[in-house]
């Protein structure tokens, strides 16, 4: 029956950064690995379209546990992928005067607990007087997704190179006693003894095909604006905490800064188990069981630049000129239950051991090491 079907020890669904890392770990363990992705090439969605921040913990003043685990991985990640890390800039964190959930002293105390450096600087160097309570020079870098992908692919090639099934999706699956038999949308079939579901926004869509209970997720259609900055902000990243949060920081080595803000970066939100958005009605290739690439979608929302520009102007005034270059869109996915303390744990869920099926969801690129503990 199974003759003519390729058999693999592990199938990785989703060629994002976590998927590639997982594939590499499997290959290194001597397993025969395949990678499946809806895109033709790796890391073209959320792995690439984000702030490009290597989190060192500063973002989680209400979750020391998240901050500490970020900081722990941070050193390892920046060493491990040194060629893809942009260190050549000063990262400034500031605490907003109005509606901030944290006080200036609270932020310093938190940094001390989490064991991450923060040196107070004169806020008016970067911000309009009276808009922020305090500003701190911190140690945090930015990664270049393109270089990260290049590095990861080189490492994959050094192992027993996996087979690629792209651009294709899985259509259905049969559970056998020791393996899954997947039928793909192009009619091919694969047999896999284990499956790693690293599809991020597609995680529940894949689980649905496997007939597994969906995870409690929330989806946000996000826009990252790439901007060019004046010389005064060249080599500087600004991050404003904590309620009316916005950030303008170097985007890897692209020469652009990314501009994002809590209130305007997510354009639309879906609280359903599967990502359900109104714009899907106008794109026949996108629905709640198969997402298209938002960055290339003709139905993507118009840019929120006018709002973001306004928000940035409120804090930095006209002292730093910021100019619009282009917008990138992707689907951000977070666990629905992390609202109170903003914790962003990496979620690893083993749905089945025989045959093996595990899902991984993480919002931070630096936490790939969580995979090693599990696999």
């Amino acid at each position: 029956m199974t003759s003519g079907i390729e058999t693999y020890d592990r199938l990785v669904i989703g060629a994002g950064f976590f998927g590639l890392h997982g594939a590499r770990l499997f290959a290194r363990a001597g397993m025969r690995v395949a990678i499946l992705d809806a895109e033709e090439a790796p890391m073209l969605r959320a792995s690439q379209i984000n702030q490009a921040r290597v989190h060192n913990g500063y973002h989680y003043p209400r979750s020391v546990s998240t901050a500490r685990s970020s900081a722990e991985y941070y050193d390892r990640f920046t060493r491990d992928f040194a060629s893809a890390i942009n260190r050549e800039f000063t990262q400034v964190y500031a605490v907003a005067r109005a509606q901030s959930l944290i006080s200036a002293t609270g932020f310093l105390r938190f940094c001390e607990w989490a064991g991450i450096p923060a040196v107070e600087i004169e806020p008016t160097t970067y911000f309009d007087p009276g808009t922020v309570l305090a500003a701190y020079k911190t140690a945090e870098y930015s990664f270049d997704a393109g270089r990260l992908r290049h590095e990861m692919c080189k490492r994959l090639a050094a192992e027993n190179a996996p087979d690629w099934y792209v651009p294709v999706r899985m259509a259905s699956v049969e559970w056998e006693s020791d393996a899954f038999v997947l039928r793909l949308t192009d009619g091919r079939r694969i047999r896999a003894r284990g499956v790693l579901n690293a599809t991020y926004a597609g995680i529940n869509q894949v689980l649905q095909l496997f007939g597994v209970e969906p995870l409690p997720l929330k989806y946000e259609l996000c826009e990252v604006i790439l901007v060019t900055v004046a010389d005064s902000l060249d080599g500087v990243g600004l991050t404003l905490m904590d309620g009316p949060y916005f950030s303008c920081m170097p985007w890897g080595y692209s020469g652009y800064h990314s501009l994002t803000a809590v209130s305007y970066t997510p354009h639309l939100t879906s609280h359903d188990a599967l990502p359900h958005f109104e714009c899907q009605r106008r794109n026949p290739d996108c629905n709640d069981s198969a997402l298209d690439n938002c960055a290339l979608c003709p139905q993507r929302p118009a840019t929120a630049w006018p709002f973001m520009r306004g928000l940035a102007r409120r804090y930095v005034g006209d002292r730093h000129s910021i100019a619009y270059a282009q917008s990138l869109y992707s689907m951000k996915t977070v666990l629905a239950r992390a609202e109170i303390d903003d914790a962003r744990p990496t979620m690893v869920e083993e749905h089945s051991t025989q045959p093996w099926l595990t899902s991984i969801l993480s919002g931070k690129i630096g936490t790939i090491y969580d995979l090693e503990e599990v696999l």
Binding site: L20, E39, E40, A41, P42, L44, R62, V64, S65, T66, Q99, L101, I102, S103, R109, F110, A145, R149, H150, M152, C153, K154, A157, A161, P162, W164, V166, L226, V227, T228, G243, S263, Y264, P266, H267, L268, T269, C279, R282, A295, L296, P298, R300, P301, A302, T303, A304, W305, P306, F307, A323, Y324, A325, Q326, L328, R337, E339, I340, D341, P345
Partner: protein, 352 residues
């Protein structure tokens, strides 16, 4: 059961508790060691005169969690000691146990924590049955205030980091956390449990605390002042009428009696009225001094930023906002090309 990886803090105030504190720490520690991988005790010693601090230091070495002991230099009372400890605690969630007396079944701590994780920033717990003096006290408090839900005895509580940060930012001197947490605007709820312990009356502490709550967190003072000034004003008005009636009915009164009587009654009436007005202004000044937040936000949601319908029109970025150097090639096109090359590298087809 795998242990919860979040950092949680157990915050407690002690005062002359040398006989109770050891068993308290051991009992709570045993419970938390089972559930949590990372937890700490923060103990505020409110100037005990006995061996409390020594006992804490001795027991600390046996515990599974870490322990920080704060020794206050003066006696500050329950609320301020708790602030000192809360500001020191670093957990993502904080258990305010307030007192070393365990009059609750331990599993209520777990229930409170689970409730907090399900979406509440502040979860209190209160015994199902309260002694009569507490019932009377809280009934009075609720008659004199308009908190919803009403106040009650709540000496254990689980609070999120952000709620604690917001609460300690309220710098008023006379404090009562149960009410201050309401000014943070975060979601809260209350559980009930079967009380197990005996009630300990904490003497001076409890009395001064009760007075603080009544004067600073209910309208008791202002309402009493208003009631009294109205009462005296009515009395003064009655005095005027009585003087007139009396002098009309009787002709044996000395001369000027009526005039003096009216003058006195009106004068006092005016003074009472004035005191009422001054009282009202004082209440307002007090409100200014305490500087409680002007408003409390639950959360802000930008539900729709740009309707996707508008995507059909060209992106509306004014020319002067655009980068001076034109974008040579859209980022996605560049990335796609590079990604295809990277895939070939990964497949071993390209060694560049």
């Amino acid at each position: 059961m795998t242990k919860d990886p979040k950092v949680v803090s157990i915050v407690v105030r002690v005062h002359n508790d040398e006989r109770r504190v050891a068993s308290f720490l051991r009992t709570i520690d045993a419970y938390f060691a089972e559930r949590f991988a990372n937890y700490e005790f923060v103990v505020a010693d409110d100037q005990s005169t006995d061996r409390t601090a020594d006992v804490v230091a001795e027991v600390a070495t046996e515990l599974h969690g870490s322990l920080t002991l704060l020794r206050l230099a003066n006696r500050h009372g329950r609320e301020l000691s708790m602030v000192a400890a809360l500001e020191r605690a670093m957990g993502d969630f904080l258990f305010e146990l307030e007192d070393v007396q365990i009059d609750y079944p331990l599993d209520v701590l777990g229930r409170m924590y689970d409730t907090a994780l399900s979406g509440y920033d502040i979860v209190g717990a209160t015994p199902k049955r309260l002694p009569i003096r507490l019932r009377v006290f809280y009934w009075l408090c609720n008659r004199l205030s308009r908190y919803e839900p009403g106040l009650t005895y709540e000496h254990i509580r689980v609070v999120s980091r952000r709620a604690v940060d917001a609460m300690v930012q309220l710098r008023e001197r006379v404090r009562y956390r149960e009410v201050l947490y309401r000014y943070t605007g975060y979601r809260q709820t209350r559980l009930t449990y079967e009380g197990t312990g005996r009630w300990r009356f904490a003497g001076r502490d409890s009395l001064s605390f009760a007075l603080d709550v009544l004067l600073s967190f209910t309208d008791a003072g202002v309402r009493t002042a208003h009631a009294l000034s109205v009462l005296f004003l009515i009395g003064a008005g009655g005095g005027v009428i009585w003087t007139i009636v009396r002098s009309l009915l009787s002709d044996s009164l000395p001369p000027w009696w009526m005039d003096i009587g009216i003058m006195l009654a009106l004068g006092f009436g005016g003074v009472y009225l004035l005191l009422g007005i001054i009282g009202e202004y004082l209440a307002r000044i007090l409100a200014e001094v305490r500087s409680r937040p002007l408003y409390t936000l639950d959360k802000t949601q930008s539900l729709v930023v740009t309707p996707t319908e508008s995507a059909r029109e060209p992106l509306d970025v004014p020319a002067e906002d655009r980068a001076i150097e034109p974008v040579a090639e859209p980022m996605m096109a560049v990335q796609r090309r590079q990604a295809l090359r990277d895939r070939q590298i990964a497949e071993g087809r390209d060694s560049s």
